[in-house]
Amino acid sequence: MAKVIVVTSGKGGVGKTTSSAAIGTGLALRGHKTVIIDFDIGLRNLDLIMGCERRVVYDFVNVIKGESNLKQSLIKDKRVDTLFVLPASQTRDKDALSKEGVAKVLEDLAEEGFEFIICDSPAGIETGAIMALYFADEAIVTTNPEVSSVRDSDRILGMLASKSKRAEQGLEPVKEHLLLTRYNPERVKRGDMLSVEDVQDILAIPILGVIPESPAVLKASNSGEPVIYDSESDAGQAYADAVSRLIGEEMPLRFLEEEKKGLFSRLFGG
């Protein structure tokens, strides 16, 4: 059975695409046949972060409109052979997606034997975001540790509970995961940012992971290689942990504390 997982947030720029790429890649690296779908029609971001932007011929909208078949549109990842990307169109507008069309694509993907279907949602709470979350079995609610992002995540959680297919049909509710990204322990300590506990207290859903704010993320997206490959980096390791938890392994949270400064920097306040 294919599992449809939406990566959503409400607020823009919190790290949905970064997380979709890292987690999708992580699942594939563990041998699960995985596809990441870019629902951010008109912007096209995922293919850049995945480093496959020059191989896009047909896209998600082409498939839905019947202008290409699924096989033609899926881009096979160059690094892992269990990973595929279904890119968004840069030229169409958001209304190009229809529920029936998306449902058909998801069915066909399941038939192709995909175990995980990761939906990278656009920002906002309108049609595009609803379309991305509608068919979800699970949701990775991506949140930055600040008030406006937490509010938007709360709003999205409300929509998952009322506007998703599972909610509409009275099925078992969408399984919710909190992914706290761009976490900066130093700023949390200073009180400029909410802590993990603060956010969990407000959103009241289980935590999938805490991804620290890290220069490795920008480096990764510049090189078109998802940050999970950077196993030296804190962000890379944190995403790997999150993937483990997603498939049911127990993992303690890491990177919640400030890195201990060496004697030198402590003496000279570096």
């Binding site: 509010r151 409300g158 407000i202």
Partner: protein, 242 residues
């Protein structure tokens, strides 16, 4: 036999009452603007009565009416007039002079506790609405969501988020943190209460008597039971000391 063209019947209404603290109408104007800004849809065209019992000096009734109506309230009348002269000036400005049930009862029977919240226009017993089963919400009430328990009480087993609204015609019980808005006694039941394990609300209201964020913060935090006593919200910690 022809029906009479009109019929006079006594009915009770629940009205929000503004308690004027002093003669500073500009300050009132500012306060009202704040309230409306904080909860625009909540007050839309709401009928208002102004209690002027605390006003010692002469009041500019025309200006008062203008201020209330400028904020899209409907000015129903004033209550708590001190003397005949005040009543006459109110009427001259086209404002009804009302006697609240609380006032008249107190005059006759000073020992008896005044009835709460509703400003009684007529002295008729309030017919209690039929009681339905309590409405229970399992889980969080999230930002952007609204829950209404019509003709009954509401129980939330979870927290109420900022930007969420829970409304009941009866009591509201929140087994979690109240961060959003809670409106109990929405049809005017002044005996309604609000209970919560953590009070961090944006607004609480009982039978139209409300308090918003800033005031609330200074009133109470922690687990609270909120009730209405003589048009004033009362906060009590939800702990029993033996």
């Amino acid at each position: 036999m022809s029906q009479p063209a009109i019929e006079f019947k006594g009915t009770n209404f629940t009205l929000s009452v503004i308690h004027l603290q002093n003669n500073d109408l500009d300050a009132l104007n500012e306060k009202l603007m704040e309230k409306v800004a904080a909860a625009p849809s909540f007050f839309n065209c709401a009928p208002m009565v102004v209690n002027i019992s605390k006003i010692e000096t002469e009041l500019d009734f025309d200006k008062l009416k203008q201020i209330i109506e400028d904020q899209d309230f409907v000015m129903v009348g004033v209550t708590g007039c001190r003397d005949k002269a005040q009543k006459i000036s109110a009427r001259a400005a086209g404002i009804a002079v009302m006697t609240s049930g609380a006032d008249s009862k107190r005059a006759i029977e000073p020992q008896v506790k005044a009835p709460k919240a509703e400003t009684r226009i007529e002295e008729t017993k309030l017919v209690s609405p039929k009681r339905l089963a309590t409405k229970v919400v399992h889980g969080q009430v999230r930002s952007g969501q609204q829950v209404y328990a019509k003709d009954t009480d509401l129980v939330v087993i979870g927290s109420v988020s900022n930007g969420a609204e829970v409304i009941a015609d009866g009591d509201i019980h929140i087994y979690g943190t109240l961060r959003g808005r809670a409106i109990a006694g929405a049809q005017g039941e002044a005996n309604s209460k609000i209970y919560c394990q953590q009070l961090q609300a944006e607004l609480v209201s009982i039978a139209g008597n409300y308090m918003v964020d800033d005031q609330l913060k200074s009133m109470a935090t922690g687990s609270q039971s909120i009730s209405l006593e003589q048009d004033q919200l009362q906060f009590k910690a939800l702990t029993i000391t033996l």
